[in-house]
Symmetry: C2
Protein backbone atom coordinates (compact mmCIF):
# COMPACT_ATOMS: atom_id res chain seq x y z
CA UNK A 1 0.00 0.00 0.00
CA UNK A 2 0.99 3.61 -0.46
CA UNK A 3 2.01 6.30 2.02
CA UNK A 4 1.21 9.92 1.33
CA UNK A 5 3.51 12.40 3.07
CA UNK A 6 3.09 16.15 3.21
CA UNK A 7 6.18 17.95 4.47
CA UNK A 8 9.09 20.21 3.74
CA UNK A 9 11.64 19.78 0.99
CA UNK A 10 14.56 21.95 1.92
CA UNK A 11 18.22 22.74 1.56
CA UNK A 12 20.21 22.16 4.72
CA UNK A 13 23.59 23.48 5.77
CA UNK A 14 24.85 21.54 8.71
CA UNK A 15 27.91 21.64 10.91
CA UNK A 16 28.68 18.75 13.27
CA UNK A 17 31.82 17.89 15.26
CA UNK A 18 32.70 15.63 12.30
CA UNK A 19 32.33 17.95 9.33
CA UNK A 20 30.24 20.36 7.32
CA UNK A 21 27.72 20.09 4.52
CA UNK A 22 26.42 23.07 2.50
CA UNK A 23 23.05 23.17 0.77
CA UNK A 24 22.38 19.46 0.81
CA UNK A 25 18.87 18.15 0.28
CA UNK A 26 16.84 17.89 3.46
CA UNK A 27 13.46 18.64 4.99
CA UNK A 28 10.94 16.41 6.71
CA UNK A 29 9.26 15.27 3.49
CA UNK A 30 12.60 14.39 1.91
CA UNK A 31 13.94 12.33 4.82
CA UNK A 32 10.58 10.64 5.28
CA UNK A 33 10.43 9.69 1.59
CA UNK A 34 14.02 8.48 1.40
CA UNK A 35 13.31 6.23 4.38
CA UNK A 36 9.76 4.99 3.65
CA UNK A 37 10.52 4.26 -0.01
CA UNK A 38 12.61 1.25 1.10
CA UNK A 39 9.41 -0.33 2.32
CA UNK A 40 6.45 0.98 0.29
CA UNK A 41 5.49 3.35 -2.52
CA UNK A 42 5.49 6.99 -1.42
CA UNK A 43 3.57 10.04 -2.63
CA UNK A 44 5.26 13.31 -1.70
CA UNK A 45 3.49 16.65 -1.44
CA UNK A 46 5.55 19.79 -0.82
CA UNK A 47 6.98 22.89 -2.42
CA UNK A 48 10.45 23.99 -3.56
CA UNK A 49 11.71 27.22 -5.10
CA UNK A 50 13.03 27.65 -8.62
CA UNK A 51 16.57 27.40 -7.22
CA UNK A 52 16.12 23.79 -6.05
CA UNK A 53 18.55 21.19 -7.46
CA UNK A 54 15.79 18.94 -8.79
CA UNK A 55 18.33 16.45 -10.14
CA UNK A 56 19.28 15.62 -6.56
CA UNK A 57 15.75 14.30 -6.01
CA UNK A 58 16.13 11.91 -8.98
CA UNK A 59 17.33 9.03 -6.75
CA UNK A 60 14.11 9.37 -4.75
CA UNK A 61 12.00 9.27 -7.88
CA UNK A 62 13.89 6.13 -8.96
CA UNK A 63 13.11 4.56 -5.60
CA UNK A 64 9.38 4.95 -6.29
CA UNK A 65 8.64 8.34 -4.74
CA UNK A 66 5.83 9.90 -6.79
CA UNK A 67 6.52 13.65 -6.98
CA UNK A 68 3.35 14.70 -8.78
CA UNK A 69 2.52 16.71 -5.65
CA UNK A 70 5.86 18.50 -5.42
CA UNK A 71 5.18 22.03 -6.58
CA UNK A 72 7.99 24.22 -7.90
CA UNK A 73 7.18 27.86 -7.13
CA UNK A 74 8.89 31.11 -8.05
CA UNK A 75 11.32 32.17 -5.36
CA UNK A 76 13.81 30.71 -2.94
CA UNK A 77 13.62 27.22 -1.49
CA UNK A 78 13.29 26.67 2.26
CA UNK A 79 16.78 26.77 3.75
CA UNK A 80 17.89 25.70 7.20
CA UNK A 81 21.32 26.19 8.72
CA UNK A 82 22.16 24.41 11.93
CA UNK A 83 24.94 23.19 14.14
CA UNK A 84 25.39 20.29 16.52
CA UNK A 85 27.98 20.47 19.25
CA UNK A 86 29.02 17.53 21.34
CA UNK A 87 25.51 16.88 22.56
CA UNK A 88 24.21 15.43 19.32
CA UNK A 89 20.71 15.26 20.79
CA UNK A 90 19.94 18.92 20.16
CA UNK A 91 20.44 21.12 17.11
CA UNK A 92 21.24 24.81 17.31
CA UNK A 93 19.43 26.63 14.52
CA UNK A 94 21.64 29.32 13.02
CA UNK A 95 19.30 30.47 10.27
CA UNK A 96 15.90 29.59 8.83
CA UNK A 97 14.77 31.10 5.52
CA UNK A 98 11.28 29.89 4.71
CA UNK A 99 11.26 31.19 1.13
CA UNK A 100 8.42 29.69 -0.93
CA UNK A 101 7.51 27.54 2.04
CA UNK A 102 6.00 30.56 3.82
CA UNK A 103 3.13 30.62 1.32
CA UNK A 104 2.78 26.86 1.03
CA UNK A 105 -0.75 25.61 0.72
CA UNK A 106 -0.69 21.86 0.15
CA UNK A 107 -2.70 20.72 -2.85
CA UNK A 108 -3.20 16.98 -2.85
CA UNK A 109 -3.34 15.70 -6.43
CA UNK A 110 -6.59 13.81 -7.12
CA UNK A 111 -4.74 10.54 -7.67
CA UNK A 112 -3.19 10.82 -4.13
CA UNK A 113 -6.43 11.45 -2.27
CA UNK A 114 -7.26 7.85 -1.49
CA UNK A 115 -3.82 6.99 -0.03
CA UNK A 116 -4.44 4.46 2.75
CA UNK A 117 -1.57 5.79 4.92
CA UNK A 118 -1.08 9.51 5.48
CA UNK A 119 1.77 11.18 7.32
CA UNK A 120 1.54 14.88 8.12
CA UNK A 121 5.17 15.78 8.64
CA UNK A 122 6.19 18.78 10.68
CA UNK A 123 4.49 21.83 9.11
CA UNK A 124 1.96 24.43 10.32
CA UNK A 125 -0.88 22.51 12.01
CA UNK A 126 -3.39 24.59 9.99
CA UNK A 127 -1.93 23.14 6.82
CA UNK A 128 -1.97 19.67 8.36
CA UNK A 129 -5.70 20.12 9.02
CA UNK A 130 -6.16 21.37 5.51
CA UNK A 131 -4.58 18.19 4.12
CA UNK A 132 -7.02 16.10 6.13
CA UNK A 133 -9.91 17.90 4.45
CA UNK A 134 -8.55 16.81 1.07
CA UNK A 135 -7.99 13.09 1.67
CA UNK A 136 -10.56 10.29 1.73
CA UNK A 137 -10.78 8.17 4.84
CA UNK A 138 -7.23 6.86 5.10
CA UNK A 139 -6.71 3.70 7.15
CA UNK A 140 -4.12 5.46 9.31
CA UNK A 141 -3.29 9.12 9.75
CA UNK A 142 -0.23 10.13 11.75
CA UNK A 143 1.26 13.56 12.36
CA UNK A 144 4.42 15.09 13.68
CA UNK A 145 4.92 18.57 15.10
CA UNK A 146 7.59 20.64 16.86
CA UNK A 147 8.16 23.14 19.69
CA UNK A 148 7.73 26.13 17.35
CA UNK A 149 4.12 25.16 16.53
CA UNK A 150 3.35 24.15 20.11
CA UNK A 151 4.29 27.68 21.16
CA UNK A 152 2.61 29.57 18.36
CA UNK A 153 -0.32 27.38 17.27
CA UNK A 154 -1.34 25.37 20.29
CA UNK A 155 -5.14 25.52 19.72
CA UNK A 156 -4.62 24.31 16.15
CA UNK A 157 -2.58 21.36 17.36
CA UNK A 158 -5.27 20.47 19.88
CA UNK A 159 -7.80 20.60 17.02
CA UNK A 160 -5.54 18.59 14.72
CA UNK A 161 -4.99 15.73 17.14
CA UNK A 162 -8.75 15.12 17.33
CA UNK A 163 -8.46 13.88 13.76
CA UNK A 164 -5.33 11.73 13.77
CA UNK A 165 -4.77 8.13 14.86
CA UNK A 166 -1.23 8.70 16.02
CA UNK A 167 1.13 11.55 16.82
CA UNK A 168 4.92 11.45 17.05
CA UNK A 169 6.73 13.92 19.29
CA UNK A 170 10.02 14.08 21.05
CA UNK A 171 10.08 14.00 24.84
CA UNK A 172 10.59 17.73 25.26
CA UNK A 173 7.70 18.50 22.91
CA UNK A 174 5.42 16.01 24.67
CA UNK A 175 6.16 17.74 27.99
CA UNK A 176 5.66 21.17 26.45
CA UNK A 177 2.34 20.29 24.83
CA UNK A 178 0.85 18.56 27.87
CA UNK A 179 2.56 20.28 30.76
CA UNK A 180 3.20 16.80 32.23
CA UNK A 181 6.84 16.04 33.00
CA UNK A 182 6.13 12.32 33.29
CA UNK A 183 5.93 10.74 29.82
CA UNK A 184 3.22 8.22 30.72
CA UNK A 185 1.04 11.04 31.92
CA UNK A 186 1.89 13.13 28.88
CA UNK A 187 0.90 10.26 26.58
CA UNK A 188 -2.35 9.76 28.43
CA UNK A 189 -3.14 13.50 28.21
CA UNK A 190 -2.73 13.28 24.44
CA UNK A 191 -4.71 10.06 24.05
CA UNK A 192 -7.62 11.63 25.94
CA UNK A 193 -7.76 14.28 23.21
CA UNK A 194 -7.93 12.12 20.11
CA UNK A 195 -5.06 9.89 19.03
CA UNK A 196 -5.29 6.21 19.86
CA UNK A 197 -1.52 6.04 19.87
CA UNK A 198 1.39 8.28 20.79
CA UNK A 199 5.03 7.81 19.90
CA UNK A 200 7.45 9.68 22.12
CA UNK A 201 10.97 9.81 20.72
CA UNK A 202 13.88 10.28 23.11
CA UNK A 203 16.68 10.61 20.54
CA UNK A 204 19.65 8.46 21.57
CA UNK A 205 17.54 7.06 24.41
CA UNK A 206 15.01 5.30 22.18
CA UNK A 207 11.27 5.63 21.56
CA UNK A 208 8.03 4.66 23.28
CA UNK A 209 4.81 3.64 21.57
CA UNK A 210 1.91 4.26 23.93
CA UNK A 211 -1.48 2.69 23.32
CA UNK A 212 -4.46 2.65 25.64
CA UNK A 213 -3.51 -0.65 27.23
CA UNK A 214 0.11 -1.25 26.34
CA UNK A 215 3.51 0.35 26.08
CA UNK A 216 6.25 -0.71 23.71
CA UNK A 217 9.80 0.55 23.89
CA UNK A 218 12.60 0.34 21.34
CA UNK A 219 16.10 1.59 22.21
CA UNK A 220 18.06 3.68 19.78
CA UNK A 221 20.63 1.54 18.02
CA UNK A 222 23.94 2.05 19.82
CA UNK A 223 26.24 3.58 17.21
CA UNK A 224 29.90 4.37 17.71
CA UNK A 225 29.66 7.43 15.52
CA UNK A 226 26.60 9.58 15.11
CA UNK A 227 27.69 11.69 12.20
CA UNK A 228 24.74 14.03 11.66
CA UNK A 229 21.44 13.68 13.57
CA UNK A 230 19.48 15.86 11.10
CA UNK A 231 16.44 14.01 9.81
CA UNK A 232 16.59 11.13 12.30
CA UNK A 233 13.02 11.75 13.49
CA UNK A 234 11.61 12.01 9.95
CA UNK A 235 13.50 8.89 8.91
CA UNK A 236 12.07 7.13 11.95
CA UNK A 237 8.57 8.17 10.85
CA UNK A 238 9.32 6.98 7.31
CA UNK A 239 10.43 3.56 8.50
CA UNK A 240 7.43 3.32 10.81
CA UNK A 241 4.78 4.29 8.26
CA UNK A 242 6.57 2.51 5.41
CA UNK A 243 6.56 -0.72 7.37
CA UNK A 244 2.85 -0.44 8.17
CA UNK A 245 2.01 0.37 4.55
CA UNK A 246 4.06 -2.58 3.34
CA UNK A 247 2.46 -5.03 5.74
CA UNK A 248 -1.03 -3.52 5.63
CA UNK A 249 -1.35 -5.04 9.08
CA UNK A 250 -2.58 -2.82 11.91
CA UNK A 251 -2.26 -5.40 14.71
CA UNK A 252 -0.31 -4.67 17.89
CA UNK A 253 2.50 -6.96 16.71
CA UNK A 254 2.75 -5.03 13.48
CA UNK A 255 2.91 -1.65 15.24
CA UNK A 256 5.73 -2.96 17.42
CA UNK A 257 7.69 -4.09 14.38
CA UNK A 258 6.95 -0.73 12.76
CA UNK A 259 8.60 1.09 15.70
CA UNK A 260 11.66 -1.11 15.26
CA UNK A 261 11.78 -0.40 11.52
CA UNK A 262 11.49 3.28 12.38
CA UNK A 263 14.37 3.02 14.85
CA UNK A 264 16.45 1.13 12.31
CA UNK A 265 15.89 3.75 9.59
CA UNK A 266 16.61 6.56 12.06
CA UNK A 267 19.87 4.86 12.99
CA UNK A 268 20.96 4.73 9.37
CA UNK A 269 20.00 8.35 8.69
CA UNK A 270 22.51 9.68 11.22
CA UNK A 271 25.47 7.79 9.76
CA UNK A 272 26.07 10.33 6.96
CA UNK A 273 25.03 13.83 5.93
CA UNK A 274 21.63 14.42 4.29
CA UNK A 275 19.87 11.35 2.85
CA UNK A 276 23.17 9.90 1.64
CA UNK A 277 23.16 6.80 3.83
CA UNK A 278 19.44 6.18 3.32
CA UNK A 279 19.89 6.18 -0.45
CA UNK A 280 22.61 3.56 -0.45
CA UNK A 281 20.83 1.01 1.78
CA UNK A 282 20.02 -2.48 0.57
CA UNK A 283 17.12 -4.61 1.82
CA UNK A 284 19.68 -6.80 3.60
CA UNK A 285 21.12 -3.82 5.47
CA UNK A 286 17.66 -3.12 6.82
CA UNK A 287 16.65 -6.64 7.81
CA UNK A 288 20.01 -7.22 9.40
CA UNK A 289 19.72 -4.07 11.51
CA UNK A 290 16.22 -5.09 12.58
CA UNK A 291 17.69 -8.45 13.61
CA UNK A 292 20.36 -6.57 15.58
CA UNK A 293 17.64 -4.71 17.46
CA UNK A 294 16.16 -8.02 18.44
CA UNK A 295 19.50 -9.28 19.73
CA UNK A 296 19.94 -6.04 21.66
CA UNK A 297 16.79 -6.48 23.75
CA UNK A 298 16.05 -10.20 23.65
CA UNK A 299 15.87 -12.14 26.88
CA UNK A 300 13.94 -15.18 27.91
CA UNK A 301 12.05 -15.39 31.14
CA UNK A 302 12.83 -18.41 33.23
CA UNK A 303 10.54 -21.37 33.26
CA UNK A 304 8.88 -21.67 36.68
CA UNK A 305 11.50 -21.18 39.36
CA UNK B 1 24.57 -19.52 46.11
CA UNK B 2 25.58 -16.61 48.31
CA UNK B 3 26.46 -13.03 47.47
CA UNK B 4 28.93 -11.13 49.60
CA UNK B 5 28.53 -7.35 49.50
CA UNK B 6 30.86 -4.78 51.01
CA UNK B 7 29.37 -1.32 51.14
CA UNK B 8 28.02 1.53 53.19
CA UNK B 9 25.26 1.29 55.77
CA UNK B 10 24.06 4.83 56.31
CA UNK B 11 21.33 7.15 57.51
CA UNK B 12 19.78 9.19 54.70
CA UNK B 13 17.78 12.39 54.86
CA UNK B 14 16.10 12.97 51.55
CA UNK B 15 13.88 15.62 50.06
CA UNK B 16 12.05 15.00 46.79
CA UNK B 17 9.23 16.91 45.06
CA UNK B 18 6.90 14.41 46.77
CA UNK B 19 8.01 14.53 50.39
CA UNK B 20 10.76 14.30 52.97
CA UNK B 21 12.36 11.52 54.97
CA UNK B 22 14.72 12.07 57.92
CA UNK B 23 17.38 9.63 59.06
CA UNK B 24 16.02 6.61 57.24
CA UNK B 25 18.23 3.59 56.64
CA UNK B 26 20.23 3.78 53.43
CA UNK B 27 23.68 3.23 51.97
CA UNK B 28 24.87 1.08 49.10
CA UNK B 29 25.24 -2.08 51.22
CA UNK B 30 21.76 -1.68 52.67
CA UNK B 31 19.94 -1.16 49.35
CA UNK B 32 21.96 -3.95 47.73
CA UNK B 33 21.09 -6.37 50.53
CA UNK B 34 17.40 -5.45 50.63
CA UNK B 35 17.24 -6.10 46.90
CA UNK B 36 19.47 -9.19 46.49
CA UNK B 37 17.94 -10.96 49.49
CA UNK B 38 14.78 -11.56 47.44
CA UNK B 39 16.82 -13.83 45.21
CA UNK B 40 19.70 -15.34 47.18
CA UNK B 41 21.35 -15.39 50.61
CA UNK B 42 23.41 -12.26 51.27
CA UNK B 43 26.44 -11.60 53.46
CA UNK B 44 26.87 -7.94 54.36
CA UNK B 45 30.15 -6.31 55.40
CA UNK B 46 30.12 -2.70 56.55
CA UNK B 47 30.32 -0.41 59.55
CA UNK B 48 27.85 1.68 61.52
CA UNK B 49 28.24 3.97 64.51
CA UNK B 50 26.88 3.42 67.99
CA UNK B 51 23.95 5.70 67.09
CA UNK B 52 22.60 3.38 64.41
CA UNK B 53 19.02 2.15 64.79
CA UNK B 54 19.97 -1.54 64.58
CA UNK B 55 16.36 -2.63 65.01
CA UNK B 56 15.61 -1.13 61.59
CA UNK B 57 17.97 -3.66 60.03
CA UNK B 58 15.98 -6.53 61.62
CA UNK B 59 13.77 -6.99 58.52
CA UNK B 60 16.93 -7.52 56.47
CA UNK B 61 18.23 -10.13 58.88
CA UNK B 62 14.87 -11.88 58.68
CA UNK B 63 15.15 -11.91 54.92
CA UNK B 64 18.40 -13.89 55.19
CA UNK B 65 21.02 -11.14 55.25
CA UNK B 66 23.90 -12.40 57.38
CA UNK B 67 25.26 -9.42 59.33
CA UNK B 68 28.22 -11.10 60.98
CA UNK B 69 30.42 -8.69 59.01
CA UNK B 70 28.58 -5.53 60.06
CA UNK B 71 30.84 -3.85 62.58
CA UNK B 72 29.44 -1.40 65.12
CA UNK B 73 32.11 1.18 65.97
CA UNK B 74 32.26 4.02 68.49
CA UNK B 75 31.10 7.25 66.91
CA UNK B 76 28.60 8.56 64.45
CA UNK B 77 27.14 6.62 61.56
CA UNK B 78 27.63 7.73 57.96
CA UNK B 79 24.96 10.30 57.17
CA UNK B 80 23.92 11.67 53.80
CA UNK B 81 21.50 14.48 53.16
CA UNK B 82 20.31 15.11 49.63
CA UNK B 83 17.63 16.65 47.52
CA UNK B 84 16.07 15.86 44.18
CA UNK B 85 14.36 18.57 42.22
CA UNK B 86 12.24 17.93 39.18
CA UNK B 87 15.01 16.19 37.32
CA UNK B 88 14.93 13.00 39.34
CA UNK B 89 17.97 11.72 37.49
CA UNK B 90 20.45 13.68 39.60
CA UNK B 91 20.76 14.14 43.33
CA UNK B 92 22.03 17.31 44.93
CA UNK B 93 24.14 16.44 47.97
CA UNK B 94 23.47 18.87 50.80
CA UNK B 95 25.65 17.23 53.44
CA UNK B 96 27.86 14.17 53.84
CA UNK B 97 29.15 13.17 57.26
CA UNK B 98 31.36 10.12 56.97
CA UNK B 99 31.56 9.44 60.72
CA UNK B 100 32.88 5.94 61.48
CA UNK B 101 32.93 5.24 57.76
CA UNK B 102 36.02 7.44 57.36
CA UNK B 103 38.13 4.86 59.22
CA UNK B 104 36.41 1.83 57.72
CA UNK B 105 38.69 -1.07 56.96
CA UNK B 106 36.61 -4.01 55.78
CA UNK B 107 37.30 -7.24 57.64
CA UNK B 108 35.75 -10.20 55.85
CA UNK B 109 34.72 -12.82 58.43
CA UNK B 110 36.38 -16.21 57.74
CA UNK B 111 33.02 -17.83 56.98
CA UNK B 112 32.36 -15.25 54.22
CA UNK B 113 35.67 -15.65 52.41
CA UNK B 114 34.58 -18.33 49.98
CA UNK B 115 31.45 -16.51 48.80
CA UNK B 116 31.01 -17.40 45.12
CA UNK B 117 29.61 -13.96 44.20
CA UNK B 118 31.21 -10.76 45.43
CA UNK B 119 29.95 -7.23 44.97
CA UNK B 120 32.17 -4.33 45.90
CA UNK B 121 29.66 -1.53 46.33
CA UNK B 122 30.64 2.09 46.04
CA UNK B 123 33.46 2.69 48.57
CA UNK B 124 37.11 3.81 48.33
CA UNK B 125 38.75 1.69 45.59
CA UNK B 126 41.67 0.99 47.96
CA UNK B 127 39.23 -0.72 50.31
CA UNK B 128 37.67 -2.57 47.39
CA UNK B 129 41.14 -3.88 46.48
CA UNK B 130 41.70 -4.80 50.09
CA UNK B 131 38.52 -6.92 50.08
CA UNK B 132 39.75 -8.79 47.02
CA UNK B 133 42.91 -9.77 48.94
CA UNK B 134 40.72 -11.37 51.62
CA UNK B 135 38.39 -13.50 49.49
CA UNK B 136 39.09 -16.85 47.83
CA UNK B 137 38.59 -17.07 44.07
CA UNK B 138 34.95 -16.06 43.75
CA UNK B 139 33.14 -17.16 40.59
CA UNK B 140 32.19 -13.57 39.83
CA UNK B 141 33.45 -10.26 41.20
CA UNK B 142 31.70 -7.04 40.32
CA UNK B 143 32.30 -3.51 41.53
CA UNK B 144 30.62 -0.15 41.50
CA UNK B 145 32.22 3.27 41.86
CA UNK B 146 31.31 6.97 41.62
CA UNK B 147 32.51 10.34 40.32
CA UNK B 148 34.11 11.23 43.68
CA UNK B 149 36.54 8.26 43.47
CA UNK B 150 37.14 8.74 39.75
CA UNK B 151 38.36 12.26 40.52
CA UNK B 152 40.36 11.49 43.63
CA UNK B 153 41.54 7.88 43.20
CA UNK B 154 41.74 7.26 39.49
CA UNK B 155 44.95 5.13 39.55
CA UNK B 156 43.40 2.91 42.23
CA UNK B 157 40.31 2.39 40.11
CA UNK B 158 42.46 1.47 37.12
CA UNK B 159 44.26 -1.04 39.35
CA UNK B 160 40.99 -2.35 40.78
CA UNK B 161 39.37 -3.04 37.43
CA UNK B 162 42.24 -5.36 36.49
CA UNK B 163 40.86 -7.71 39.11
CA UNK B 164 37.10 -7.64 38.55
CA UNK B 165 34.90 -9.45 36.05
CA UNK B 166 32.36 -6.67 35.76
CA UNK B 167 31.97 -3.02 36.66
CA UNK B 168 28.77 -1.01 36.94
CA UNK B 169 28.84 2.74 36.34
CA UNK B 170 26.39 5.37 35.30
CA UNK B 171 26.81 7.05 31.92
CA UNK B 172 28.40 10.20 33.30
CA UNK B 173 30.91 8.19 35.33
CA UNK B 174 31.77 6.01 32.34
CA UNK B 175 32.51 9.12 30.30
CA UNK B 176 34.51 10.65 33.13
CA UNK B 177 36.62 7.54 33.70
CA UNK B 178 37.39 6.88 30.05
CA UNK B 179 37.24 10.34 28.51
CA UNK B 180 35.09 8.83 25.72
CA UNK B 181 31.74 10.51 25.20
CA UNK B 182 30.42 7.57 23.18
CA UNK B 183 29.29 4.77 25.51
CA UNK B 184 30.37 1.94 23.20
CA UNK B 185 33.86 3.38 23.10
CA UNK B 186 33.81 3.97 26.85
CA UNK B 187 32.82 0.34 27.45
CA UNK B 188 35.56 -0.90 25.14
CA UNK B 189 38.13 1.30 26.91
CA UNK B 190 37.18 -0.34 30.20
CA UNK B 191 37.11 -3.89 28.82
CA UNK B 192 40.63 -3.41 27.46
CA UNK B 193 41.74 -2.79 31.05
CA UNK B 194 40.35 -5.85 32.78
CA UNK B 195 36.63 -6.47 33.13
CA UNK B 196 35.00 -8.86 30.68
CA UNK B 197 31.74 -7.00 31.13
CA UNK B 198 30.59 -3.45 31.73
CA UNK B 199 27.16 -2.28 32.81
CA UNK B 200 26.41 1.33 32.02
CA UNK B 201 23.32 2.64 33.80
CA UNK B 202 21.44 5.57 32.30
CA UNK B 203 18.89 6.12 35.09
CA UNK B 204 15.42 6.58 33.64
CA UNK B 205 16.86 5.74 30.20
CA UNK B 206 17.78 2.15 31.03
CA UNK B 207 20.99 0.15 31.21
CA UNK B 208 23.46 -1.47 28.82
CA UNK B 209 25.40 -4.67 29.42
CA UNK B 210 28.48 -4.68 27.23
CA UNK B 211 30.43 -7.87 26.58
CA UNK B 212 33.23 -8.39 24.11
CA UNK B 213 30.93 -9.57 21.36
CA UNK B 214 27.45 -8.51 22.35
CA UNK B 215 25.39 -5.69 23.78
CA UNK B 216 22.22 -6.09 25.76
CA UNK B 217 19.91 -3.25 26.66
CA UNK B 218 17.09 -3.09 29.19
CA UNK B 219 14.92 0.02 29.47
CA UNK B 220 14.01 1.46 32.83
CA UNK B 221 10.50 0.48 33.78
CA UNK B 222 8.24 3.39 32.86
CA UNK B 223 6.73 4.53 36.16
CA UNK B 224 4.13 7.24 36.58
CA UNK B 225 5.63 8.35 39.85
CA UNK B 226 9.27 8.11 40.75
CA UNK B 227 9.06 8.88 44.40
CA UNK B 228 12.69 8.79 45.54
CA UNK B 229 15.54 7.69 43.25
CA UNK B 230 17.99 7.12 46.14
CA UNK B 231 19.40 3.60 46.05
CA UNK B 232 18.12 2.73 42.57
CA UNK B 233 21.60 1.83 41.32
CA UNK B 234 22.44 -0.30 44.37
CA UNK B 235 19.07 -2.04 44.14
CA UNK B 236 19.79 -2.68 40.47
CA UNK B 237 23.12 -4.27 41.42
CA UNK B 238 21.38 -6.32 44.12
CA UNK B 239 18.83 -7.69 41.67
CA UNK B 240 21.54 -8.38 39.11
CA UNK B 241 23.94 -10.22 41.46
CA UNK B 242 21.10 -11.86 43.39
CA UNK B 243 19.69 -13.31 40.20
CA UNK B 244 23.07 -14.69 39.12
CA UNK B 245 23.70 -16.18 42.56
CA UNK B 246 20.26 -17.79 42.58
CA UNK B 247 20.66 -19.30 39.11
CA UNK B 248 24.37 -20.11 39.45
CA UNK B 249 24.34 -19.82 35.67
CA UNK B 250 26.92 -17.57 34.00
CA UNK B 251 25.68 -18.00 30.42
CA UNK B 252 24.86 -15.03 28.21
CA UNK B 253 21.12 -15.74 28.59
CA UNK B 254 21.48 -15.67 32.36
CA UNK B 255 23.37 -12.35 32.35
CA UNK B 256 20.61 -10.83 30.22
CA UNK B 257 17.96 -12.00 32.65
CA UNK B 258 20.10 -10.69 35.50
CA UNK B 259 20.07 -7.19 33.97
CA UNK B 260 16.28 -7.37 33.76
CA UNK B 261 16.03 -8.48 37.40
CA UNK B 262 18.32 -5.59 38.27
CA UNK B 263 16.11 -3.15 36.37
CA UNK B 264 13.02 -4.58 38.03
CA UNK B 265 14.48 -4.21 41.54
CA UNK B 266 15.69 -0.69 40.73
CA UNK B 267 12.18 0.22 39.58
CA UNK B 268 10.69 -0.95 42.86
CA UNK B 269 13.28 0.86 44.98
CA UNK B 270 12.23 4.27 43.69
CA UNK B 271 8.56 3.80 44.51
CA UNK B 272 8.99 4.70 48.19
CA UNK B 273 11.56 6.21 50.55
CA UNK B 274 14.49 4.12 51.82
CA UNK B 275 14.18 0.32 51.45
CA UNK B 276 10.48 0.46 52.31
CA UNK B 277 9.16 -0.79 48.98
CA UNK B 278 11.91 -3.42 48.64
CA UNK B 279 11.02 -4.87 52.02
CA UNK B 280 7.35 -5.36 51.22
CA UNK B 281 7.84 -7.13 47.86
CA UNK B 282 6.51 -10.62 47.24
CA UNK B 283 8.00 -13.12 44.78
CA UNK B 284 4.94 -12.55 42.57
CA UNK B 285 5.56 -8.80 42.45
CA UNK B 286 9.02 -9.50 41.12
CA UNK B 287 8.17 -12.13 38.52
CA UNK B 288 5.25 -10.06 37.31
CA UNK B 289 7.43 -6.99 36.84
CA UNK B 290 10.00 -9.09 34.96
CA UNK B 291 7.14 -10.27 32.73
CA UNK B 292 6.15 -6.62 32.20
CA UNK B 293 9.67 -5.85 31.02
CA UNK B 294 9.31 -8.57 28.47
CA UNK B 295 6.04 -7.14 27.20
CA UNK B 296 7.63 -3.72 27.04
CA UNK B 297 10.34 -4.73 24.57
CA UNK B 298 8.98 -7.85 22.88
CA UNK B 299 8.57 -7.90 19.14
CA UNK B 300 8.75 -10.65 16.59
CA UNK B 301 10.67 -10.34 13.37
CA UNK B 302 8.70 -11.18 10.29
CA UNK B 303 9.11 -14.49 8.62
CA UNK B 304 10.85 -14.06 5.24
CA UNK B 305 9.20 -11.15 3.44
Amino acid sequence: MTVLVVGSVALDSVETPFGKAENVIGGSGTFFSASASHLSPVQLVGVVGDDYPMDQLEPLRKRGVDMAGLEQAKGESFRWRGRYRHDLNSAETLETRLGVFSHFSPKIPPQFRDAPFVFLANIDPRLQLDVLRQVQRPRLVACDTMNFWIESRRPDIVELIKHVDLITLNDGEARQLTDCSNLLKAARWIMERGPRMVIIKKGEHGAFLFKEKSIFFAPAYPLEDVFDPTGAGDSFAGGFMGYLARSGDLSDASFRRAVVYGSAMGSFAVEKFSVQRLLELTPTDITSRVADFRKLVAFEEEQAT
